[in-house]
């Protein structure tokens, strides 16, 4: 990959940034340079302070110490007004946030125009904006329907809108916080192709990712944060994946390997299940899960995985078809009955569906078992018992928190996932539904998730793994089925599949054509 010239001018400098949240130091004296035409990858565990650092750069947060310097129009570096996104935008910094910052009730065009025009203007100048965007889209390859309502876009499309927003404002520095966390492999590839094109045209780009492979493939330089401090800053050419993983977590990381499985009897069966009405529906889905196997479901997001997971979680009742676990019919079950039947569910959106942020870690660990005798007697809660159990789980699952009584909202994504794992896997469920279980998690947390899922499989549970990450699917699954536009293909042994085939099927090429 072509490197930017060594003497390319520095566009941006973070100068000794320190940021504290109460007792916690999220950024600890971080120095970082970004040159014109350079793609810099920022790595680090969950909670290492990556997002915080970028938020300071963009003015969402004010640093406790240190400053941000930008060169305006290629000139001298000058200090950027802290705490002002407005100033950052003016200085040519564009940011694509970890959580999208789009107004869903507006069109794509209006989202892009937002904030670019004088608020006192009597009319939004949409026509010239359209022309400029048409030009931008052809040059960058970021195409998206300008008149679509954002609420109707897929995640990948939303991502493009976010980048277009920055480009439309003539950004010279582009920051992307985990841009590929929710993208399919193909979408990720497209994105990086675009980023390279933009870098070649002179932009400085910083992106955050947990996926080492793509970091290696797409960046010129890699900076690693650990515990808020920068622990490495190297040209990509001098790095390898193992070394990076160690830098991030501070110790050696072992590869997760799937041993040979011993699939047993059929456990969990979906027959002709249809649910939902919109484009996020599923149609006539058949699925058989055996004990002691991991069945992977691959698919581009928005093809019905969410609905499938909701049906299996007992949140949505199918309009047709049936669902059975062993001899037990579960077609009309709700979440409660699913849990009681021995079905563990790991939700794809762990912040929304996984935890009650305002409640304590211990309460979140007990929430699925709150009506069980272990948590209550005559309707009265048994606090001591709940606490003891929470302490045991915190130890067993290595949940990093300030004690079982701290609010769950303060935990990092990886630790929130551990809470969910702990409470769902605790009762040795027969079936585990894991939807996007490693999304947004760092290397350490991810390997922990993998280990737990493999343990469940070894114990004889059937695991249904819904994921968009092909590496993950290939590594964990015994068989893989592909979901496209609400239809689920027949599962095939992983050994008979390869990335290319799966990618094509996910993109909608028919099974026959692929064979």
């Amino acid at each position: 990959m072509a490197l930017p010239a060594k003497d390319a001018p520095v566009l941006l400098r973070l100068d000794g940034i320190t940021k504290r949240f109460g007792a916690l130091t999220a950024n600890d004296g971080v120095y970082l340079d970004l040159r014109q035409g350079e793609i810099l990858a920022l790595l680090g565990e969950n909670g290492a302070g990556k997002t915080t650092l970028m938020n300071i750069l963009f003015g969402h947060y004010v640093a406790d110490e240190g400053s941000v310097l930008v060169s305006r129009d290629g000139g001298e570096l000058a200090q950027l007004e802290p705490g002002s996104p407005h100033a950052a935008l003016d200085a040519g910094i564009g940011m694509v946030h970890q959580h999208f910052t789009l107004a869903e009730n507006l069109s794509v065009l209006d989202n892009i125009l937002l904030g670019t025009e004088k608020l006192s203007a009597l009319k939004s100048a949409r026509a010239p904006a359209r022309r400029k965007l048409a030009d931008l889209m052809t040059r960058s390859g970021l195409t998206v329907g300008l008149d679509m309502r954002v609420s109707q876009l897929s995640v990948g499309e939303k991502q493009r809108v976010e980048i277009l927003k920055a480009l439309y404002r003539n950004a010279r520095v582009l920051v992307l916080d985990e841009p590929t966390a929710v993208l399919t492999p193909q979408e990720s590839d497209t994105l990086f192709a675009i980023l390279k094109k933009l870098a070649a045209a002179g932009l400085g780009i910083v992106f955050i990712s947990h996926k080492l492979a793509e970091v290696m493939a797409a960046s010129h330089r890699i900076a690693v944060l650990r515990g808020g401090a920068k622990v490495a800053d190297l040209p990509t050419s001098q790095c390898d994946q193992r070394q990076l993983a160690e830098l991030m977590v501070g110790h050696e990381v072992s590869e997760t390997v799937r041993g040979a499985g011993a699939p047993g009897d059929t456990l969990f069966v979906l027959t002709g299940v249809s649910a939902g009405e919109s484009r996020e529906s599923i149609r006539d889905v058949n699925l058989e899960l055996r004990s002691g196997e991991i069945l992977g479901i691959a698919g581009v997001s928005g093809n019905g995985q969410t609905m499938l997971a909701r049906v299996i979680s007992g949140l949505e009742t199918p309009v047709a078809g049936s669902m059975r676990l062993g001899d037990r019919a579960l077609t009309h079950a709700n979440a409660r009955t699913m849990i009681d039947a021995g079905l563990a569910r790991i939700p794809e959106d762990r912040h929304r569906d996984g935890i009650v942020g305002a409640m304590t870690v211990s309460e979140n660990l007990a929430i699925e078992a709150i009506r069980k005798p272990e948590s209550q007697r005559f309707g009265l809660l048994r606090f001591a018992a709940m606490r003891d159990k929470a302490k045991a789980m915190i130890d067993a699952y290595d949940i990093r928190c300030q004690g079982e009584d701290s609010p769950a909202r303060l935990l990092s994504g990886g630790n929130i996932q551990k809470i969910v794992l702990a409470r769902t896997l605790e009762g040795e469920p027969k079936v585990v539904l894991a939807a996007q279980p490693s999304r947004g998690l760092d290397v350490g947390a991810t390997s922990e998730v993998y280990r737990r899922l493999l343990d469940a499989r070894a114990r004889g549970a059937g695991v249904l793994l819904i994921s968009e990450d092909l590496d993950e699917l290939m590594r964990l699954s015994d068989r893989i089925a592909v979901i496209h536009r609400g239809h689920l293909s027949a599962a095939e042994p992983t050994e008979t599949l390869d990335r290319g085939t799966l990618g094509l099927r996910m993109a909608g090429h028919t099974m026959e054509a692929a064979e």
């Binding site: 109460g22 004010v62 705490g83 949140l315 009650v356 699925e368 309707g379 809660l381």
Partner: protein
């Protein structure tokens, strides 16, 4: 630019400090209209304190006014805990009062120990059922409950008027739209001779302990809190969201209904369409002042009642328009609201220079 940082647990000294500051701010702001009306501020405050706490009569009057506020405050607090926005305590209060009157004026007869519980139960049930309508509309059809509960207030008040001019009108009432008086056996007993203070206060205090216990110690309370903080996650974890909303709705309505029972069976003896000077709406204020804490509700209600009764009495003693009382209540409310913020957040004035930032 102001910034807020959430605080951890608050020290008692700080709590007291903030409360005192809020009270002082309220006193200073309330002095403005007093001066405008030509009052001597110190005398006025003296009279206010005397009017609410200065004699057994004043004190019991204050408690009498606090009793319905505690109940409507609890009604709001418990509903808001589950993020069920019940703005309809006023209507539920009237429904409770109407039911109490229906049962307590001769529908059934018997000794006190039968009639009093019957009246209480009827009122609670009526209030609960009224709240069930918006709750079911919300859970089944997704209709916004802020609006439905608000609108039902008007419907119920009109219904009460209709009943008071129709089937439930007192035949001995000379045509006035009022109900028959509640039988003596059905009335809540007085707590003291010659004073108006009645068992409604005891019911209110018991209710606040009950709700505290429910929320803190029981599975239902756990479910209410979980649904209120994150309904989606609660649902995913197998908590019956709909059933929880229905329970909360019934409970909230029942508490407001009890307020109506107290006013009609403990205080007035019969029902008129102007039974409540907005207790239902004030309940929301009480609940929020209390930070939705059931025990806090008691103190918030005492506070609001003291301010009102004291200021009302002061306006009478000084001959100033008694609208001043409502005004002082409103000012105190706003001050206390703002002060609550200083307890929950650390407030920093962020300036553009990082150097200054660190200097702090």
């Amino acid at each position: 630019m102001i910034r807020f940082e959430p605080r951890g647990p608050v020290a008692v000294s700080r709590m007291i400090g903030v409360s005192v500051t809020a009270a002082l701010a309220a006193l200073i702001l309330a002095a403005i209209p007093m001066l405008f009306a030509g009052l001597s501020v110190f005398d006025a405050y003296g009279l206010m304190i005397k009017g609410a706490w200065g004699s057994m009569f004043a004190f019991t009057e204050m408690l009498t006014r606090a009793a319905p506020l505690i109940l409507t405050g609890l009604a709001a607090a418990v509903a808001f805990r589950a993020k069920l926005w019940n703005i309809g305590a006023e209507g539920q209060l009237y429904a409770g009062a109407l039911a109490a009157v229906a049962v307590g004026t001769g529908l059934i007869s018997g000794p006190s120990f039968v009639l009093v519980p019957a009246v209480i139960l009827a009122g609670a049930l009526a209030g609960g059922l009224v709240m069930l309508v918006p709750t079911l509309l919300k859970t089944r059809l997704g209709v916004d409950e802020v609006v439905t509960t608000l609108l039902l207030n008007f419907v119920i008040l009109l219904f009460v008027q209709m009943m008071l001019e129709g089937p439930m009108q007192d035949p001995m009432g000379m045509g006035w739209p009022q109900s028959e008086p509640i039988l003596d056996e059905a009335a809540l007993p007085k707590l003291m001779d010659r004073m108006r203070i009645h068992w409604g206060l005891v019911i209110a205090l018991a209710a606040s302990l009950g709700v505290y216990f429910l929320l803190k110690r029981t599975v239902w309370g756990f479910e209410i809190r979980a649904v209120g903080e994150n309904a989606a996650a609660a649902r995913h974890a197998g908590i019956p969201v709909t059933a929880t909303f229905v329970r909360v709705g019934l409970l909230s309505g029942a508490l407001a209904g009890l307020a109506g029972v107290g006013e009609v069976a403990g205080l007035k003896g019969y029902l008129t369409a102007d039974l409540s000077p907005g207790f239902g709406y004030s309940g929301i204020v009480v609940a929020m002042l209390a930070g939705l804490s059931p025990i806090g509700v008691v103190f918030a209600a005492l506070f609001i009642a003291s301010i009102f009764v004291g200021a009302d009495s002061m306006s009478r003693a000084t001959g100033v328009s008694n609208y001043l009382a409502d005004l002082i209540v409103a000012i105190s409310l706003l001050c206390v609201l703002v002060s609550g913020l200083f307890l929950r957040f650390r407030i920093r004035l962020a300036t553009s220079s990082p150097a200054q930032e660190t200097a702090k």
